[in-house]
């Protein structure tokens, strides 16, 4: 806690960001992978520990700040984006990360999430999505699928789930990405891109809760199926996926459609890579990103990587820019000027 060791840039190890607190997640939890990736990324970026603030809400994921040798604030359920907004507005020079979960961010804290995203506050938000309430021991969450049998839905959930990426895109988020707890390298790349982004970076991480929802993402993330079930978005590259890079996405009848490359389809058309949609996350128009976020998990590839990354001034920059502009023009007043203002009169 009181280590004062300097941080020589570029030579850091991830342990530099490890606090003295014992990590208490269940053995095998996907959270470990995320903690590792964040510590490694911060080390690779050569960040100063004292300039990082990690704010979390409530839930398993929200214990995260205790395990990081940075400034940390474990706040209350759903409110981390609001607390973090206060920190970032007050001290724009600090690097402020928010750790949250599907219940924390999308259920009790939904309002703060959408408003933080629309304002474009310079926060990096990592949403651990395990599609279950873990800390309260297994109830369905706002991302649990219809029909999910849990303690609070013994006959199957009838709640329509949220799609976190569609939600973020819908409210005007300027950076939207998805990654997976077991794909460390991919996650580190996404985290770095988030760090570089001005404004809010929203990252959904598919995270396995090995106690209450084990294997929820297996059908798409297991090593043997992953390449066929995920499409990794690369800027300005055609949307290709598959173990043999043999599948792709085309834009057809106002939607994305999967085609097999090099093979004739039912109309006799043979699809080539140049027929595929080329994806550009910096496109201000979010339509294609939105269409990608809506691909059906059951029979279409699930997008991972950066769906959207556009340039827009951050909220804190606008707030402080306005203050600076007015101060430059009018100058600061003394307390005396302020008190002795308005209509005054003298009693002799």
């Amino acid at each position: 806690m009181t280590a004062t060791q300097d941080s020589p840039k570029g030579k850091l190890k991830k342990t530099f960001f490890k606090s003295d607190q014992e990590v208490r997640w269940c053995p095998g939890c996907g959270d470990y992978g995320i903690l590792n990736a964040v510590q490694s990324t911060f080390a690779e970026l050569g960040l100063e520990r004292e300039n990082i603030v990690i704010v979390s809400g409530i839930g398993c994921s929200s214990r995260f700040p205790y395990y990081m040798e940075t400034y940390g604030f474990h706040s209350i359920h759903g409110r981390a984006p609001a607390v973090a907004t206060g920190v970032k507005l007050s001290r724009p020079e600090l690097e402020v990360w928010v750790i949250t979960g599907d219940g924390d961010a999308l259920s009790i804290g939904g309002n703060h999430l959408i408003h933080t995203l629309r304002r474009n506050v310079g926060l990096k938000i990592i949403l651990f999505n395990n599609r279950i309430y873990g800390l309260t021991k297994g109830q369905f969450s706002p991302t649990s699928e219809i029909g999910k049998v849990t303690k609070s839905s013994p006959y199957g959930s009838v709640d329509m789930p949220f799609n976190p990426l569609s939600l973020a895109l819908g409210v005007g988020a300027t950076f939207v990405a998805r990654t997976i707890d077991v794909m460390g390298k991919h996650m580190r790349e996404v985290l770095k891109a988030a760090h570089e982004h001005e404004g809010t970076a929203f990252i959904e991480v598919f995270q396995d809760c090995n106690i209450f929802n084990h294997g929820a993402f297996d059908p798409i993330v297991k090593k043997e199926v992953r390449d066929d079930r995920l499409v990794d978005l690369r800027p300005n590259q055609p949307l290709v996926f598959g173990q043999d890079h043999d599948k792709g996405l085309i834009w057809d009848c106002n939607q994305l459609r999967v085609v097999k490359l090099g093979e004739a389809d039912e109309t006799g058309k043979v699809w080539k890579e140049e027929d595929l949609v080329v994806f550009d996350p910096s496109n201000p128009n979010p339509s294609l990103a939105f269409a990608l976020s809506h691909l059906r998990e059951v029979d279409e590839p699930t997008p991972i990587g950066v769906l959207r990354s556009i340039k827009q001034a951050s909220y804190e920059k606008m707030v402080h820019g306005q203050i600076q502009g007015i101060q430059d023009k009018k100058g600061e007043r003394s307390l005396e000027d302020l008190i002795y203002a308005g209509k005054t009169w003298e009693v002799k």
């Binding site: 806690m1 009181t2 004062t4 606090s19 607190q21 100063e48 520990r49 004292e50 300039n51 603030v53 409530i58 700040p65 205790y66 040798e69 940075t70 400034y71 940390g72 604030f73 474990h74 706040s75 209350i76 409110r79 609001a82 607390v83 973090a84 907004t85 206060g86 920190v87 970032k88 507005l89 007050s90 001290r91 020079e93 600090l94 309002n111 703060h112 408003h115 707030v319 306005q322 203050i323 007015i326 101060q327 023009k329 009018k330 100058g331 600061e332 007043r333 003394s334 307390l335 005396e336 302020l338 008190i339 002795y340 203002a341 308005g342 209509k343 005054t344 009169w345 003298e346 009693v347």
Partner: protein, 620 residues
């Protein structure tokens, strides 16, 4: 009206009054707030003591001419030291039948009733629910001195040669009423003319000219037709020498918050969500950009306080402003503030409750909520401003306590203080309270919950300080290290420590000032905005020979040291409050005494005469 024989003035022409209570009432669009403010300003410049209170409708633009749309402004001017805007009226200006209907019950018998007959057509009085013209109904107007003027006609005639359209012309009619009132009280028009020119002159000189013309026309008309057989004079009050300005409670709160920032050199952050009657503080601080104030209009009350918590953590003087329903939503985050031991201020401008209640009316019914309204053992200091001007000083005091003891502080004001105004003798800057804020920067032996042995406060560390990274949160902490701890003995220790820290503030706050003798038959004990009403009543009761004194609490929780000794000097304790007895019941948990609760929950403040009657009744 208390009359004094005029001395040296033309006989029968001018009556000298000690004081007068005047209310301007009309439709929300009639400019009654502006008229009332201008009249008050002229009284202040003349040297009267005064107090004002506006009464606006909850609806922004209720249908014209209806009872729901009546807006009023009351001012009491006096040649004595006064503390409230008064109760019964000496003069009522009613711009339409709806205003007459709503406000006539408050006019003293024999009082002057000035009506704008231009708005008393059949449709107008029908809209107000009258079945005939009330001005022709003796049972309605007979007890009063009715003065009828067609202000619409007067205004139109005065401005007939201008290029203004009819709508713009009719907007000037309130100045005709003001002209008549200024004549009635023998006031110079010049300061008002200057004020009109300042207000409208730059943007709309033709409107300024029109308003001035109508103001003068109103005065001239009244003088020429001798609207009353005599006029009135309220002499200058003997105020302490100094520079004064008139200030409303919300304005004083906003200024006090900024003053705390200027005095400490720590930047001010406000996280707030609009709510009546607190929004004006948000508006005011939002205009203080040149002074570096950061204001954040949050998405809801919860985000407002959570951003405030975040700002406090980041090392700002952080505040959130709201009213009762907002405090209800902020409750969980207040608990976080107590647990994380962060300094910030929550201003509750109380209004009528429960639930949405009476948003534009006043009440003091959030005291239980302030002292006890959180889960767990969750003590925090509760302060209450006693007058509009006191809001300034209590805002500074709230930050002093918050930062010295690392705790959230609740500051209670209410709608009556928020919108009421009184003259403020401006303080010398060097006389303002001094306090320093200390940020811990020494990593040697640093622990986030290592306490100052005297105050029990933990250190305040700005993130970004090298070598002092630490984690805080809402989970129970081990004392010292601040690590999460579920240890049962530690929890009990921490509960007691947080309690001891807050209770220890009792030693650091001034004993409340006793008004009157230190022994007697009755002590009138109050808190918050009832100060002025109680003061005036106790003053009169003492003149009548009653052995009664006043004690007013500005630090409600914890109580300052010595209150028990003061209470012991009196046989009984009368507690007037705008709730069902919340202070009374709270006091019973603190100090044993013979309390008499005197509740009033009407959305209106106590009046001097009500409290006085109660004192007489108790001591009869």
């Amino acid at each position: 009206m208390t009359t004094v024989t005029p001395d040296g003035s033309p006989t029968g022409k001018v009556e000298i009054l000690e004081e007068a209570v005047i209310r301007f009432a009309g439709d929300s669009g009639d400019g009654m707030q502006l008229t009332g403010n201008q009249f008050s300003d002229s009284a202040a410049l003349f040297g009267n003591d005064l107090a004002t209170f506006p009464d606006f409708p909850a609806e922004i633009r209720a249908p014209i001419g209806t009872l729901a749309g009546v807006s009023a402004f009351q001012v009491r001017i006096s040649s004595n030291d006064i503390h409230t805007p008064g109760h019964l009226l000496d003069v009522l200006v009613a711009m339409n039948p709806a205003a007459l209907k709503v406000h006539l019950p408050d006019l003293k018998h024999g009082g002057i009733l000035l009506v704008n007959t231009g708005n008393f057509g059949k449709r107008d009085w029908e809209k107000a629910g009258y079945t005939s013209n009330p001005l022709e109904d003796e049972t309605i107007v007979e007890p009063y001195h009715l003065v009828q003027v067609d202000l619409n006609h007067l205004t139109k005639e005065t401005l007939k040669d201008t290029n203004l359209d009819n709508k713009a012309i009719m907007r000037c009619k309130n100045f005709a009423a003001l002209g008549i009132l200024l004549w009635m009280f023998n006031r110079d028009l010049e300061p008002t003319i200057r004020a009109i020119k300042e207000r409208f002159g730059k943007k709309a000189p033709e409107i300024a000219d029109a308003n001035v013309a109508v103001l003068v026309a109103g005065r001239n008309y009244a003088e020429t037709v001798e609207l009353l057989d005599h006029t009135f004079q309220v002499d200058q009050a003997e105020l302490e020498p100094g520079i004064y300005r008139n200030i409303m409670g919300n304005q004083a709160t906003g200024l006090g918050l900024l003053a705390a920032s200027k005095l400490t050199g720590v930047q001010l952050f406000l996280g707030s969500y609009p709510i009546t009657p607190a929004s004006d503080i948000l508006h005011q601080l939002s205009s203080y950009k040149q002074d570096g104030v950061i204001t954040f209009q949050a998405e809801d009350e919860i985000a407002a306080i959570c951003s405030t918590v975040g700002a406090a953590y980041a090392g700002m003087l952080a505040v959130t402003t709201t009213s009762g329903p907002g405090v209800a939503l902020k409750t969980e985050a207040l608990g976080l503030g107590v647990m994380a031991e962060l300094p910030f201020v929550v201003v509750n401008v109380q209004r009528g409750g429960p639930s949405t209640g009476l948003p534009t009316k006043t009440e003091q019914a959030d005291l239980y909520q302030a002292i006890w309204g959180r889960n767990g053992e969750c003590p925090l200091p509760v302060l209450a401003a006693a007058s509009p001007v006191d809001c300034f000083y209590m805002a500074i005091e709230a930050f002093r306590i918050a930062t010295k003891y690392m705790t959230p502080v609740l500051l209670l004001t209410d709608g009556y203080l928020a919108n009421g105004s009184e003259p403020w003798k401006l303080p010398k800057i060097e006389d303002l309270p001094k306090f320093e804020v200390h940020f811990e920067t020494n990593p040697e032996g640093f622990q986030p919950y290592k306490r100052d042995p005297e105050t029990l406060a933990r250190p305040w560390v700005r993130p970004g300080t090298k070598g002092m990274q630490h984690r805080i949160g809402g989970l129970e902490k081990e004392d010292g290290s601040g690590n999460v701890s579920y240890d049962s003995e530690n929890h009990f220790h921490m509960v007691k420590t947080r309690q001891a820290k807050v209770m220890g503030i009792a030693k650091d706050i001034p004993a409340p000032e006793l008004h009157g003798d230190s022994e007697g038959d009755l002590l009138v004990l109050g808190w918050g905005s009832t100060y002025g009403s109680i003061y005036g009543a106790v003053d009169k009761a003492r003149k009548e020979g009653f052995k009664v004194s006043q004690l007013h609490l500005r630090h409600v929780f914890p109580l300052p040291e010595g209150v028990d000794k003061i209470l012991a000097g009196f046989k009984r304790i009368l507690v007037p409050e705008m709730n069902m007895g919340q202070l009374t019941n709270y006091m019973k948990t603190q100090i044993s005494a013979d309390y008499i609760s005197y509740p009033k929950v009407t959305g209106k403040p106590f009046y001097n005469d009500e409290v006085l009657r109660k004192i007489r009744e108790v001591l009869a």
